[in-house]
């Protein structure tokens, strides 16, 4: 049992943090929202050239999947687009080394109605990310992975609460490169866990922003953070985030160990982390009082992303996946 990060892990997480501070500040996030782009070239260069996409890859001597979740927690703190989740945790497992650093636009598995017939893909999908940065769309259909050129789909930009660009996509008998996807369930478990890590980081940062404000903001001659009504709201959210962190890293450890309990744990981690992020961002927003409701303060960036992160890419966890502790 060891709950500490190794020196290498700390160094990689710190390197990502430094990179994101440079290429993914809240000013960048705001600009991407305004321009309705997923991210810019500087962001992609920092992520892809910094060696971060290799974490958790299921080949070579890449850092573990647990390391990937550590990195995605850092990314969540910055509200960075969750490319590590969709690329390294999910797509890389389905496509293998053929992916070779290419970012594909993923179709969220729970948000598509697709038919795959003789190498042609038809149907509709919502919540597709990174379409402006990708050459190909990746979809799961009938137990296979299908890659479709973005020029072969009809896409509509959909505005959501987060203002993170998402596309609704129609496939009309689109030619697809079809690959067997035997690791589909494993890829989904990795995706859930990694997105849960992202939500955990985002929730933790929302609390830190609010705590910093509560230490500085004075009302009735005292910092508002000295009032228990303010403290308690943040404390309760902080506990939820800490619990989410334990679930994420537990799920990641089970995935790294190829343990059959990994799938159930990934569901629980995602469910709880989404809930924790919502609670943390709301507690954070309320700490800022009326200012929290304005676009001037960064806490609203977290609040607007939280519900979307909670609802995620698939329905709520079936209760049958909440196993007994002991039979």
């Amino acid at each position: 049992m060891d709950f500490a990060l190794t020196t290498e892990e700390r160094a990689l997480a710190e390197a990502l943090s430094q990179n994101l501070a440079r290429v993914c500040s809240t000013a960048c996030i705001r600009a991407w929202e305004a321009e309705q782009v997923s991210f810019d070239d500087a962001f992609w260069a920092a992520i892809s050239e910094g060696g971060f996409l290799e974490a958790g890859l299921p080949w070579g001597d890449a850092p573990s999947f647990g390391m990937l979740t550590q990195l995605e927690e850092v990314a969540g703190r910055f509200l960075a687009p969750p490319v590590l989740s969709w690329h390294s945790a999910f797509a890389a497992l389905l496509l293998g080394e053929r992916l070779a650093g290419e970012l594909v636009a993923p179709v969220p598995p729970g948000r598509a109605q697709l038919t795959l017939d003789g190498g042609r893909l038809s149907g509709e999908a919502g919540g597709v990310l990174f379409l402006d940065r990708a050459r190909r769309v990746l979809a799961l259909a009938h137990g296979s992975a299908a890659l479709v050129d973005t020029s072969a789909v009809s896409a509509t930009l959909v505005q959501t609460q987060s203002l993170v660009p998402q596309w609704s996509v129609i496939f009309e008998d689109a030619p697809a490169e079809v690959l067997p996807a035997p690791g589909c369930e494993q890829a989904l478990a990795r995706l859930r866990t990694s997105l849960a890590a992202w939500a955990t980081g985002a929730g933790a940062q929302a609390i830190e922003l609010a705590s910093a404000y509560a230490r500085e903001r004075v009302q009735f001659d005292h910092p508002i953070g000295s009032y228990q009504s303010v403290q308690n709201r943040l404390v309760d959210a902080a506990i939820q985030v800490e619990q989410a962190r334990m679930l994420v890293y537990r799920a990641a450890a089970l995935i790294d160990a190829h343990d059959p309990q990994a799938e159930a744990m990934s569901w629980l981690a995602r469910r709880h982390a989404g809930k924790a992020f919502v609670q943390a961002s709301r507690a954070g927003l309320l700490t800022f009082g009326g200012y929290g409701f304005t676009v001037d303060f960064d806490i609203q960036l977290y609040f607007r992303r939280a519900k979307e992160a909670q609802l995620g890419f698939e329905p709520r966890v079936p209760w049958a996946l909440a196993p007994a502790f002991r039979s």
Partner: protein
Amino acid sequence: MDFTFTPEQEAFRQEVREFCAREVTAKGRDRLVTAEQHDAEFYKLLAERGYIGMQWPPEHGGRGRSHVDMSIFYEEMSYANAPLGRYTGSVVFVGESLTVYGSEEQRREYLPRIARAEITCCWCLSEPGAGSDAASLITKAEELPGGGFRLNGQKIFTSGAHRADLGMVAARTNPNVPKHKGISLFLVDMHAPGVTVQPLWTIGGWHVNQVFFDGVELPASALLGKKDEGWPNIRITLNLERSAIGKVGLLMRMFDLIRAYAAEHEVAPSLLDRLTDLRAEIEALRWLSYRVAWLQDQGKVPDSLASMSKLRSSELMVAVSELGMDIIGPRGMERGPDAPIGGEAEFLYRNAPFHLAGGGTMDIQRMVIAQRGLGLPRA
């Protein structure tokens, strides 16, 4: 992060689990569901197996085990609903405190006797006018000219005092300084003349106590730590108290009982949704608790994390018992072992306020987390 236990720890878990399967009899469980939480016979067995004071060094009667080992023990015992009785009061509150700030003579005198189950202990801190604000205590220990002290005052909510042989008592030794100074700790023979214990019955069906000290004569050697400098040690003991895991195993047990019941009955989807949420939270708390124990083994004082674990697990006592009763329906209100799931949901629901207040109220835990975890200012 590595969540795996060592082969030795796995073997220890198996050993404790087998011990519970053999020794935690229905009689013991019934006793827990009725009124009495301490089973002297069972307590002796714990001592014979070396489970009492297992984390102390051998020269003090222990086995040199780690805090993670202790957590494993607690998880197994509470999952089995074992009548641990005076275990935590003796081992964690008093015994652990002795290991941290007791003199070598005191350790040698008391720890082996605690480990052999020859004596049990109680922690006498709260007073009628000093609950969460424990430093407001007014119980007085007056230093005698010929050496030693005379103790006068009243304590309240003292668990296990009616069974205890040794009390760890906080008393004011200097009334002329700010309240956090001038407090000392004493080891008091609970059978000494002048000590009176009266029950204070709870809705749980068992009692805590009021303890009266009327001119109790204490030798100088009863002083624990330095005179007038007891408050920092009280905080250490409160931290030890908060870190003690006894709840997660019980939460796991309750979840499994309720889940098994739900699987065999028609249950509304909204209730199953709550059950799933609880599963995630209990799992998270389990590892959070092990993380606290692991940090303690590294020599750290994870007070904020310990308070998180204590606070949330206590709240989940309420949540899980309430959900159990909601799922069972009207019969969930029935008391006793013949009720659905052995009446355990009802029993826990009724006893949950004890978990919410014991070892520091929820409000105090939140203050600890706010100030030491989030760095928020004091009021």
